[in-house]
């Protein structure tokens, strides 16, 4: 399965000869990157993913802006502390200046400067919230319901009628049992693979309507930049617009403690081009029709309506 990745290490060749240490370092980084090629998202393992949606890119830039501001402040503040510790040592015979106890001027300055810095951070953040909260004019809505411990996806609009559950894949489920004896490293996408992924089109605004049938869950795919709680009795909204060209499989997990198997209800999203998505919808609908027409199936299917779609021939296991 092709996963879009932004972190490929592509500068391995062409290093100046003789720089043994550098090449070893690069080899190590390369090895780590290779190990990470099994990774589920576009994060490099130590930072937020830039992600693949309009919002995730905004959030990433905000994150990096604030991060560098914090680094700047840290250099100044920690630098001052370190200088003080080096310069004003009792063991070096430093004489304390006991008259230095108060300065209104200085205190006003170091109250105002943080306020200004905070405003610099708050403005882009506020603009970004306005964008995030604007769920109007979506092209496709999908209702996402959390259960202990699986997700249900019910499509609306043009894809209305498609409705299925998404649970941890069997291979991960075997391996994750206590004393299973199976090495998780041998399981493809351990704990981040499901039987039936959510399928969405790229390039259009997809609105998720989140709720829960039992306890509070949270739907989080880091590459989409967002998480939102699924709360019983409430419907929360969030929207995703995957940038065209970023089709692929993206993975996430339930992010709100929801009981014993909270760690085992992953989210997998298969982002298709609008054309492929259209075809997928047609296939699903055709299969749905066939299943309803088939005389043997209805008895079982009708008694448990939301589960009917689980028997559909969905896309291959991801």
């Amino acid at each position: 399965m092709n996963v879009n990745r932004l972190t490929a290490i592509d500068d391995k060749p062409g290093r100046p000869r003789g720089l043994k240490l550098a090449s070893i370092a690069i080899a190590i980084v390369g090895a780590i990157a290779a190990a990470r090629s099994a990774s589920a998202n576009t994060s490099n393992g130590i930072n937020l993913p830039r992600g693949v949606t309009v919002l995730s890119r905004d959030i990433y830039s905000l994150h990096m802006l604030v991060f560098w501001i914090c680094v700047g402040i840290a250099v100044v503040v920690f630098g001052t502390m370190i200088v003080a510790m080096v310069k004003f040592r009792h063991s070096q015979g430093a004489i304390p200046d006991t008259t230095m106890v108060h300065s209104t001027k200085v205190e006003i300055v170091w109250t105002i400067i943080p306020v200004v810095i905070l405003i610099v951070m708050a403005v882009p953040a506020a603009l970004s919230i306005l964008k995030i909260e604007d769920t109007r004019n979506s092209d496709l809505s999908i209702r996402v319901t959390g259960y202990q411990w699986k997700w249900q996806y019910q499509y609306m609009d043009a894809a209305a009628g498609i409705n299925y559950f998404s649970t941890l894949s069997a291979s991960s489920n075997f391996a994750r049992q206590l004393h299973s004896g199976i090495d998780p490293r041998t399981v493809p996408h351990y704990l981040l693979s499901v039987d039936h992924p959510l399928v969405i089109p790229s390039g259009v605004k997809v609105r998720l309507l989140l709720t829960s049938a039992d306890v509070i869950h949270a739907w989080w795919v880091p590459d989409f930049g967002m998480k939102r709680d699924a709360i019983p009795g409430f419907i929360n909204e969030m929207w995703i617009k995957v940038l065209p060209g970023k089709e692929g499989v993206y993975r996430g997990q339930c992010a709100a403690l929801c009981g014993r198997d909270h760690g085992f209800m992953p989210i997998v999203v298969d982002v298709k081009t609008p054309a492929d998505f259209k075809k997928w919808v047609e296939d699903q609908k055709a299969a749905l029709k066939q299943a309803q027409a088939a005389p043997a199936a209805p008895a079982a299917a009708a008694s448990a309506p939301p589960r009917t779609a689980a028997t559909l021939p969905l896309t291959a296991k991801l």
């Binding site: 510790m85 919230i129 998780p184 998480k227 339930c254």
Partner: protein, 525 residues
């Protein structure tokens, strides 16, 4: 009353168990609080070791996922209510009367009661590990509807929380009454030591929010047993309302655990900088503003829960504002060190460690305040890293610094400086190995409160677990240093840190502090 023979008025303490059971002496009660807190620190720490052992590698090796959730829940409850809060109350008991020049706390019998509730509360809480269905496993935040699924442990946990709340409220009343009424003549409030100031404000926070916690857990209880539907959507209730009420308690609670730490640091840094605290008055105002702001920021725990746009904006701005008074404090401590004459005894080492690492926790706090970024950070290991930086090298380091600062005053003996410094360096190295990689894990997408994880998170989890084991083992040195010091050692002088310049009334009485001190009020010039 003629028949009342008050033990507290005897010259010498009662002997045996009676001394402790019927203790009304602030020093005895302070000691009991501190010992209790140390025991709970190791109990909660053991739970943390189980958590980190399970997280060392992907796959489940040691515990069932349900038990893992019990461990994360109990670790938090034990550390917050059993280790950090009682430690600060213990320090308050010992030091507030000594710093004010008062003979004892104002309400000694209530003081006894507020301590002795705690062992029972924690026996009850810890016994839930052995009841059918196991201990509470829904996180210390107890969000319904999940928390309503607990078994027999549920009412036990709630009763234990009620007991802890009663204990905290009584402790807080005692602190306020003592400070407002028993200061030595000639000590106006604004000239009071910073540790007392931080505790005065903390005590008001406790009185304001502990009843809110008691109320909200009682509502959970009636939802569970008496068919009310406060938080049950199917009955017309509102699961989000729990979160609002809980965090209205929960955010001030965070400051209850850090404000006394600010007080401790404000005592230690001037002493070992041989220079008065810079901007002492603005320090007091900063603590007061942080306390006020703590009441209007609770929504930042709930950004991803779905909140009106205006509320998100408000809570973002109010939360960011906290950085201003907190910044003032950090700058003032730095200015206190500037042009001072610094020496690095163990208390100072812990204070400086606090300064650096608490500030790191502050940075991630500002990052978390930004709503859009919070959508990524919250419920991830980034949050775990953030609050552990604030609470472990923050609150816990301040407590350790305070113990190393005042231990010679309490016992009359110096402890082993080498041992204490080793303890500091090992703790500092391992605490960073433990918590810094958790920032990476959270940013890379690892949710918190999971017993098992996808394989790309393996490396940093291993590093973090190694840090955890190292940090845990290093704390044994702390216990050894304290026990050695209690049993003997080089005699401490009245001023203890004679070479440095400790100020405050506690240094005018001999070491160890006599069983009854300041029976006549000291004169203040």
């Amino acid at each position: 009353m003629a028949h009342a023979i008050d033990i507290a008025h005897d010259d010498q303490p009662a002997t045996g168990i009676k001394r402790w059971l019927f203790a009304t002496n602030h020093k005895d009660i302070g000691t009991m609080y501190l010992v209790f807190s140390l025991i709970m620190f190791f109990v909660g720490g053991t739970m943390a070791m189980i958590i980190r052992a399970e997280l060392f590698e992907p796959g489940l090796q040691f515990v069932d996922p349900g038990f893992f959730n019990e461990m994360t829940t109990m670790h938090a409850l034990v550390m917050i209510f059993g280790a950090v809060m009682p430690a600060f109350v213990g320090l308050a008991n010992w030091m507030i009367p000594l710093q004010l020049g008062a003979p004892d706390m104002a309400l000694p019998r209530m003081n006894n009661f507020s301590f002795w509730i705690l062992p029972f509360a924690f026996t009850l809480l810890l016994s839930t590990l052995f009841v059918p269905g196991g201990a509470p496993a829904g996180g210390w935040t107890m969000y319904p509807p999940l928390s309503l699924q607990f078994g027999d442990s549920f009412p036990m946990m709630i009763f234990a929380i009620h007991l802890m709340g009663i204990s905290s409220i009584m402790g807080a009343i005692n602190v306020i009454v003592t400070i407002l009424n028993m200061r030595a003549p000639g000590m106006p409030l604004l000239k009071m030591p910073l540790f007392c100031w931080s505790w005065l404000i903390t005590a008001y926070l406790l009185i304001a929010v502990m009843p809110v916690l008691a109320g909200v857990v009682t509502m959970l209880l009636t939802d569970h047993f008496f068919k009310t539907s406060f938080f049950n959507a199917a009955g017309g209730g509102d699961p989000l309302m729990f979160e609002h009420i809980f965090w209205f308690f929960g955010h001030p609670e965070v400051y209850i655990m850090i404000l006394p730490a600010f007080g401790v640091i404000s005592e230690i840094i001037p002493t070992f900088s041989r220079k008065p605290l810079f901007g002492a008055t603005s320090m007091i105002y900063a603590i007061a503003s942080i306390a006020f702001l703590s009441f209007i920021v609770w929504g930042h725990h709930m950004f991803a829960d779905g909140m009106p746009l205006a509320a998100q904006m408000f809570f973002m701005m109010s939360t960011m504002l906290i950085a201003v008074p907190t910044g003032v404090k950090v700058f003032n401590w730095t200015a206190t060190m500037w042009r001072g004459s610094l020496s690095f005894e163990p208390p100072m080492l812990f204070a400086i460690g606090f300064l650096f690492m608490f500030t790191i926790g502050g940075f991630s706090g500002v990052m978390l305040a930004l709503v859009p970024a919070d959508y990524q950070y919250n419920q991830s290991y980034f949050v775990v890293a953030h609050f552990h930086y604030v609470l472990v090298p923050g609150a816990v380091f301040a407590i350790m610094g305070a113990v190393y600062y005042w231990l010679p005053k309490w016992t009359g003996n110096m402890y082993s400086m080498t041992l204490a410094k080793t303890h500091f360096w090992l703790s500092t190295i391992f605490v960073n190995v433990l918590f810094f990689p958790q920032h990476f894990l959270g940013l890379a997408g690892m949710p918190r409160r999971i017993p098992d994880y996808a394989v790309q998170f393996t490396d940093w989890n291993m590093v973090s677990s190694i840090g955890a084991f190292g940090f845990g083992l290093s704390q044994i040195l702390f216990a050894i240093a304290i026990i050695q010091c209690v049993r003997g050692g080089q005699k401490a002088t009245a001023k203890v840190w004679g070479g440095a310049t400790p100020t405050g009334l506690e240094w005018t009485i001999p070491s160890p502090a006599p069983y009854h001190s300041f029976t006549t009020a000291p004169e203040i010039h």
